[in-house]
């Protein structure tokens, strides 16, 4: 095999994918097309979570790839993994030659599998947030939104100042310190780890890495050291960013190997080989083949446990059971359209912020306490800057997890994401005795209409709650201060509004101007 070409292909494909997976978080791109958002569905955790809503094919494909070739996912599809490779590469420019060398590192198996076990256990129980906090894709989404997206916003506005007539100024994004600090500190940690220890995050913390690592123990192709050819020159070890090649014992820890082909490419002796492995039932070495080329049953057992856990997670998902532990939701968090219910949203959303980046009105922001503690940093609607556009359903299109189910525009226009509460004593018409009508003006379904107020010539709002879809237009424009007369309250479960009636008008033929 020509490992040089394989490695170069790996690098090219990886760079291609990190760009594709970052683009949907860039506002400018999002305005033009949602095409790139479909690439987000290629990610492992989203395909797992959406396994019953269209993710199954991708999920099985990713498993199959891992079973065949090992953790190639971590090298070419995972944006955070690719990012770490880039960081490691760049940091080499600032290091002395000696410092650039990796050494074999012992696996931190207890930490690693504890994290995996806890995340999987909680996920099976219906609590997805810890997974969301650790999932490399979701973290990359948050980094893209909060850091890359902000840099893009800044550049955009600089261009808007240079070319004021051609490029529009982008007025606002939400900024929440906590929501910024999480990805910022996370990125910092990953940068430091990858600059000094290569793929340490992937092989210690990342639950996806640990899981795929267990499965890749039985993958058909694995890196194998040919002891007869190897002269222990250490070149492979120096270049192994996973620090998983133990030359003393002459073995590669495949559970940590991300199949980057670096070792094979640098080996002058051709001693590092990517080989099709033979399976053995026995733990002994009865076969003529060297020990390294046989998959033993204890490895198979580990892989089976991993896949069993994955299977359990899928079964648990299919049962749609109640979450056993949950903090009481304060029901102040309004979930985006397609979320169905706060509970379902919490189960399926990993806070990747694809919807946050895509919302053209920029009204989706990370939550603090709106959903309760188990909803910290999940996307939540906020109407202080704008409201949910009646003819828009972009958030439901871009969600890779199907935490927001795709909706037809017709369905979205009837989905009650929240419900207005009207407090007449706060209304301008009531308090100031003057006309206003801002809410009525903006209401897309005419849930709000204006009726004569007492015996004056004024008109005051009247709400038909069956028509309200909670879009927040009335809340956004209501001029009453400090307390608005129109406030949207969240619904535990999204409702379905009545279809606004078409009010046919009598045909009138006019032949005169009327004056």
């Amino acid at each position: 095999m020509n490992y040089k070409i394989i490695k170069q292909t790996r690098v090219t494909v990886a760079l291609f994918f990190i760009v594709l997976i970052t683009l949907p978080f860039i506002f400018f791109i999002n305005r033009e097309t949602t095409f790139f958002s479909y690439f987000l569905k290629l990610q492992f955790i989203p395909s797992l979570i959406a396994v019953f809503t269209g993710g199954a094919f991708i999920f099985l494909l990713l498993l199959l790839i891992t079973l065949l070739f090992g953790r190639i996912y971590c090298s070419v599809l995972c944006p955070l993994g690719i990012f770490q490779d880039i960081v490691a590469r760049v940091s080499n420019l600032f290091k002395s030659k000696k410092r650039r060398r990796f050494k074999y590192g012992r696996p931190w198996n207890i930490l690693r599998y504890t994290i995996l076990a806890v995340t999987v256990f909680l996920f099976i129980g219906g609590i997805s947030l810890p997974l969301g906090y650790l999932d490399p894709y979701s973290n990359w989404g948050r980094i893209s939104t909060e850091i890359i997206g902000r840099v893009e916003h800044l550049c955009h506005n600089i261009f808007a100042l240079i070319l004021p007539n051609a490029i529009s100024y982008r007025s606002y994004t939400y900024f929440l310190l906590g929501a910024f600090l999480f990805p910022f500190l996370f990125a910092l940690l990953v940068v430091i780890l990858s600059a000094f220890r290569g793929r340490l995050y992937c092989n210690t913390v990342c639950p996806v890495g640990s899981l795929l690592g267990l499965i890749s123990k039985i993958s058909f192709f694995q890196p194998v050291i040919n002891k007869t050819k190897c002269n222990k020159c250490q070149l492979c070890v120096i270049n192994c960013k996973s620090q998983c090649i133990d030359l003393e014992k002459g073995v590669v820890d495949v559970s940590r190997c991300v199949t980057c082909f670096n070792c094979m490419q640098v080996c002058n002796k051709g001693a590092m080989e990517y080989k099709f492995l033979v399976r053995s039932k026995r733990t002994g070495t009865s076969s003529e083949l060297p020990k390294e080329q046989i998959i033993f049953s204890n490895d198979r057992r580990k892989a089976l446990i991993a896949m069993g856990a994955l299977g359990t997670a899928i079964v648990a998902k299919s049962m749609e059971h109640e979450t056993p532990v949950k903090t009481k939701s304060k029901t102040t968090g309004i979930t985006p359209p397609g979320a169905v219910s706060i509970e379902r949203f919490k189960k399926n959303c990993t806070a990747c912020y694809a919807c946050v980046s895509a919302c053209p009105s920029n009204i989706i922001k990370p939550a603090y306490t709106e959903y309760g503690l188990d909803g910290l940093l999940l996307p939540v609607l906020n109407f202080s800057n704008h409201y949910c556009s009646y003819d828009c359903k972009v958030c439901t299109e871009v969600c890779p997890n199907d935490a927001l189910l795709p909706l037809t525009l017709k369905d979205k226009q009837l989905t009650q994401i929240g419900q207005v509460r009207y407090t007449p004593k706060n209304c301008i018409v009531y308090t100031d005795g003057v006309d206003c009508g801002a809410c009525d003006e903006h209401c897309p379904t005419k849930a709000i209409t204006m009726i004569p107020f007492k015996n004056s010539s004024l008109y005051i709002p009247k709400v038909n709650y069956d028509l309200c879809i909670g879009c927040g237009a009335c809340e956004h424009v209501c001029p009453a201060r400090p307390d608005k007369a129109m406030v949207i309250h969240a619904l535990e479960k999204h409702g379905i509004a009545l279809l606004p009636e078409k009010e046919q008008q009598k045909k009138i033929d006019i032949d005169d101007f009327g004056f």
Binding site: D391, E441, V477, E503
Partner: protein, 310 residues
């Protein structure tokens, strides 16, 4: 009308405009002597561009209002993310005809903008106005951020003493107000004066501080539109100003044009009254503006021309 068809006709229109300009240079200007002079022109029965052409002729031609080299702003209503058939935004064909006419009259540039209610990019796009403006040779201006607005004082204002107005209006030589005729839950009707809410920044303040008074106060702003052209081709007679379905709209095929903003709105309300009862007195800001000396509701004192096409 399909977009392609529209762009085609817009292109042909632009071509005709350019040729006419040349013809004017070639032949002696004979029309100058019998130029019509009216205060208010009402047209009905035609297509938007056709009605505009007849109306502006009866107003003495666009050259009376737009001089060579003028920077012109055309201010339609683009408030909503709605397609033209919903009648929520000014008819793009009318906007296009006005832009071409201004450019033919020698305007150095024609800028179109509105401070929209719905998300602005969708409004500009789905109203058909952005495409129409570009096809007609005009420019779109942004209006979605406070940075595009400058503070001016309103010495004649009662409630509103100061207001932030879009820089395009402040910097232009002349501006033309092109509203669409619709009902409104707060001010009963939205026509020319209510269209001022798209050139100012803080609408919430107006809503909180006697909307009708604020509208009339803003109309006292020194730089007045040289023309108010009311699009009544499609008239939203219920559920305005956003509307919920095409059933809210009647095809009325009318257009009103006047230099007097109070008269223009009065005429439009009286026209509207034939579809649905609405008295001029119900529309608070019209009366306040008249009291502030911005025009007259008494159409009998004006030179009014009524044109029926077809």
């Amino acid at each position: 009308m399909k977009r392609r068809q529209f762009i085609k006709s817009a292109f042909l229109g632009a071509l005709t405009g350019a040729l006419e300009l040349k013809a004017g240079n070639l032949f002696a200007k004979s029309g100058e002597t019998n130029v019509e002079d009216n205060d208010l022109v009402a047209v009905m029965g035609g297509e938007p561009a056709q009605m505009y052409k007849r109306a502006i002729e009866a107003m003495g031609g666009i050259k009376r209002y737009v001089k060579t080299g003028n920077k012109v702003v055309v201010k339609p209503n683009i408030g909503w993310d709605k397609r033209p058939e919903f009648g929520a935004n000014t008819n793009p064909e009318l906007v296009s005809a006005i832009i071409k006419d201004c450019l033919a009259a020698g305007a150095s540039e024609v800028v179109v903008f509105d401070y929209t209610c719905d998300e602005w990019r969708s409004c500009y796009k789905n109203s058909g106005i952005e495409d129409a403006v570009k096809a007609a040779g005009g420019n779109i201006a942004f209006a979605h951020d406070e940075k595009y607005y400058k503070s001016v004082s309103l010495p004649k204002g009662t409630r509103l003493k100061e207001v932030k107005i879009h820089e395009a209006i402040i910097n232009c030589d002349v501006w033309i107000n092109v509203p669409i005729l619709k009902t409104h839950g707060g001010t009963r009707m939205t026509i020319s004066m209510k269209n001022y809410m798209g050139i100012i920044w803080d609408r919430i303040f107006w809503h909180a501080n006697d909307l009708n008074q604020c509208i009339a106060d803003c109309v006292t702003y020194g730089k007045k539109p040289v023309l108010n052209i009311i699009d009544a081709y499609r008239v939203m007679t219920q559920n305005g100003p956003r509307g919920k379905s095409v059933e809210d709209v009647r095809i009325a095929k009318a257009l009103f044009i006047s230099t007097d903003i109070v008269a223009a709105d009065t005429a439009a309300v009286r026209f509207f009254n034939q579809f649905k009862e609405m008295r001029v007195e119900e529309v608070g800001h019209i009366l306040i503006a008249e009291r502030l000396g911005e025009g007259t509701t008494n159409l009998d004192n004006l030179r009014v021309k009524r044109i029926k096409i077809g």
